[in-house]
């Protein structure tokens, strides 16, 4: 059972990555704004159906909770626009590792200062080391991209950019 659950979690991470790749591809065909709009609108429809049918009643609702707590949506929209734009240009791996680095960096900062009413967890040696390792990983993927780009250019006089981006 535990193994099955771990496989499920790893698969859902893979799904997240596939989602970004699909959205990036769609964005390069029809536009960044259109692709992000489709993702949010479909997400709103599906989550509304689920919440309406299955979520038990709570004392507070979205309309009575403090307004600033709902402002997270602005970050989500900016993220979606950036990722749809960047994914076909820098590649799936570079974009994914960049997002993860940003997420972990910010979550370490939030922990360290206890922002947004979260408990304070101070930065330790292990956490500093983890940040350095993430920076190294990003650099390695950048090196790999640069090397393969140079190779592709030497082979056929073309960059390895996404074919659909050249038209625009």
């Amino acid at each position: 059972m535990l193994i099955f659950m771990i496989v499920l979690v790893v698969a859902s991470g893979a799904i997240l990555c596939a989602q970004s790749a699909i959205n990036g591809r769609l964005g390069s065909h029809v536009g960044v704004l259109e692709s992000a709009w489709l993702t949010f609108t479909l997400g709103a429809m599906l989550s509304l159906l689920y919440a309406f049918l299955f979520e038990p009643q709570h004392a507070l609702t979205l309309f009575t909770a403090p307004r600033w707590q709902v402002t997270g949506a602005f970050f989500g929209v900016v993220y979606m626009l950036v990722i749809v734009f960047a994914m076909p240009r820098v590649g799936t791996a570079a974009a994914t590792v960049s997002v993860i680095s940003g997420q972990l960096l910010m979550s370490l900062l939030i922990d360290n200062f206890g922002w947004l009413n979260n408990p304070v967890i101070r930065l330790s040696g292990a956490r500093y080391a983890a940040m350095i390792l993430l920076a190294i990983a990003l650099f390695l993927i950048y090196r790999s991209n640069a090397r393969q780009g140079a190779q592709a250019m030497a082979l056929n006089g073309e960059s390895n950019e996404h074919p659909h981006l050249k038209q625009s």
Binding site: E34, Y79, T92
Partner: protein, 142 residues
């Protein structure tokens, strides 16, 4: 790589995602997690609809694409559902590590084979080393 400047931008977007998660958690405790997700998606959808109305939307072009290209919006809720099912069994820490591992591994595979319309970027020594560095970093944090 011509688009190096995009990488800090994507890192910043990832930082925003953590802020969103930090806001979403407490909101979910108060109004229910499903409704918190509805709030985020609905507000985002409204904002982007404004953008579309005042931009030059190419919606006709979008709906003439093959249908699998439109499934990105459906996969998000699938991910949320999988998390909801698995977290009580394996714990939050292991869940996070599993997701991040799944993401990075899938990104290397997608690039390697050029799936989902990505440009092909083969797995090489650099990429394997990057994967190892990320795994060690995750182990250090959790």
């Amino acid at each position: 790589m011509k688009h190096v400047w995009l990488i800090p931008l994507v890192v910043a977007a990832g930082m925003g995602l953590s802020v969103e998660a930090g806001l979403l958690g407490p909101l979910g405790e108060e109004v229910g997690h499903a409704w918190a997700v509805v709030g985020i998606f609905a507000l985002g959808s409204l904002l982007l609809t404004f953008g579309l109305i005042f931009g030059r939307p190419r919606l006709a072009l979008m709906f003439s694409q093959p249908r699998w290209l439109l499934t990105g919006g459906v996969l998000g809720p699938v991910y949320v559902a999988a998390l909801t099912i698995a977290t009580p069994f394996v714990g939050v820490g292991l869940t996070m590590v599993g997701i991040l591992f799944g993401q990075v591994a899938a990104s290397l595979v997608i690039d390697h084979f050029g799936w989902l319309g990505s440009a092909r970027r083969e797995v090489d020594g650099y990429r394997v080393a990057a994967l190892v560095a990320i795994l060690v970093a995750l182990w250090l944090i959790h």
